[in-house]
Subunit: 327 residues, 2 copies
């Protein structure tokens, strides 16, 4: 596999989907009259929580790993992640018959380390306070002759996540719906970048919005500044999956061009969206996966025409979920 | 609408689906490697919790109500139910522009009465201990010149629920899967009867099983006895949606012919299935909706070939759900 550093284009998203479409779950678009009423417009929820491994991350992982030639990387693949990327990589590597090592914080929830091990990957722990996980992963990749797969700063990862956008565009066309707007959570911004490429190719008039937790609105502030800016290191949020310190360089080069604006939501708005999904949509959404649904329910997304929001994942600790829905 | 008392046939199921297919959600078949592993066979979960109103009941309600001529029933429709049938009727009546009155126990959970009212139906309360809800509903129907719609003892209701089976058969055919077995929860047995007709028509070699809560295994005992027998009135279960006193007469006339056997599961097996669905499938299933998944996870369903189970609904009280998943 030759490493290219150029950002992916629409064609790469199409090629990625051709590679993975028999493996991914074509997740449904969910609707509810109460959601349309709250948002004041027709709303479609792309339920990526129903994706294999419980989040969209499997798509980019699969598109990347299916291109890896085992002979080039006898040690398989390495990734660092405490969450959804870890499970996506582990599942895709198992399917490809490649070894996978995931670098995870030693205080990671047991449910996540167990999930990765169940998928056949090895786990290497690091100390969140004293060690640098990127360095550990890089050293491991060299030692083992393995490929290090980043979470979002990678053309194949971005192109693979873009399959979410291709499916949304196809599902809307089939339903005779022209989307005025599409909103999606952003951590590193890889999913948003892939979706932006897909929508720009297939539905160029649809306005695209990132949604982030308050205090982690680095995309919003970066769009406003015209360059990547970081979050306050002291910020905190319930949305563990998207508490990234700043937008990824490659995703930002795409999003800064194709995204209309950045929006943000509070933790309490996120929890209300998770409760809404429990009560009416009957799907489990994790905090970081509920930000765009939260923005829709709060009427924060500009416009009044058809809107699609992406529920990006559902991997949430049972005790936390129980507290949120019973509140 | 002329009332026919003959049980529906396969053709009626096809005609029902033709009537409602643009209104119902074609719910997905969900899979998970852990489920296949636990069951020792490929398992497909028909996610009717993602149906409109959160349960399959909308299907039969819609097939019945779309046949009602408003001029014949100026008072609209009447039903008695504290749960999923109530919401199905209310939603279908609203879509048809008919009034709906639902007779509900005065101690019904507020979330359920609120749900019915949100859909535009009127609620008439009765005292569970002192009054007979069937009599109240019958009197109301006469008074208001309205049609009383039963929960399961009705050919159009059964035929409408059968659309679940048509979709399962079509989805399996598309996936190249030949089902060895299909299992579904049974209260009155209307859904099971409709599915049995559909599968008998499209996949006659598939073995069909009812699953019931322990203590409410009236289908199992009725199959064994060759006639309808009742449950012990003192029995209790967490599965409120399917705590029916005995099989419905019309559904039983179908199920007794087409179902291979009756199975049962304990409350703790049901709760484990709900937790499994939360952790891995990312869908919310109510206790009564999880019995066939529970039977699959426990390896209780005979055979080792492809199996489909129906997750019939997801309308569960948040506090109860929180206790179950966090246990």
């Amino acid at each position: 596999m030759s490493k290219t550093l150029a950002p992916p284009r629409f064609d790469d998203v199409l090629a990625g989907y051709a590679m993975i479409k028999d493996r991914v779950v074509k997740t449904p678009l969910l609707r509810h009259a109460r959601l349309d009423e709250a948002a004041g417009r027709p709303v479609f929820v792309k339920a990526e929580c129903l994706q294999k491994t419980g989040s969209f991350k499997y798509r980019g992982a699969s598109n990347t790993i299916m291109r890896v030639k085992g002979a080039d990387y006898p040690g398989g693949v390495v990734a660092f992640s405490s969450g959804n990327h870890a499970q996506g990589i582990a599942a895709a590597a198992a399917e490809a018959g490649l070894r996978a090592v995931i670098v995870m914080p030693k205080d990671a929830p047991k449910i996540k380390t167990e999930g990765v091990r169940y998928l056949g990957a090895d786990v290497v722990f690091y100390d969140r306070l004293k060690e640098n996980r990127e360095e550990i992963a890089r050293d491991l990749a060299v030692e083992r002759n393995a490929l290090l797969i980043p979470s979002y700063d990678d053309p194949n990862i971005i192109a693979g996540q873009g399959s979410v956008g291709l499916e949304i565009a196809a599902q809307c066309e089939e339903a005779g719906v022209v989307l005025e707007a599409l909103a999606c959570g952003a951590g590193g911004g890889g999913l948003m970048a892939g979706i932006s490429l897909a929508m720009h190719g297939l539905s160029p008039d649809t306005k695209i919005y990132t949604v982030e937790p308050e205090g982690f609105d680095d995309h919003k502030r970066s769009f406003d500044a015209g360059k990547r800016v970081a979050n306050d290191p002291g910020a905190d949020s319930i949305c563990d999956a998207i508490m990234t310190s700043m937008p990824g360089a490659m995703p930002f080069s795409i999003n800064n061009r194709l995204v209309s604006a950045g929006l943000s939501v509070s933790d309490s708005e996120v929890m209300a969206a998770m409760r809404f999904a429990f009560l009416y949509l009957k799907v489990v959404i994790e905090p970081g996966g509920a930000v765009s649904l939260a923005a829709a329910l709060q009427g924060k997304i500009p416009g009044s025409g058809p809107l699609c929001v992406v529920a990006t994942g559902g991997n949430v600790d049972p005790a936390l979920y129980a507290r949120i829905i019973a509140a």
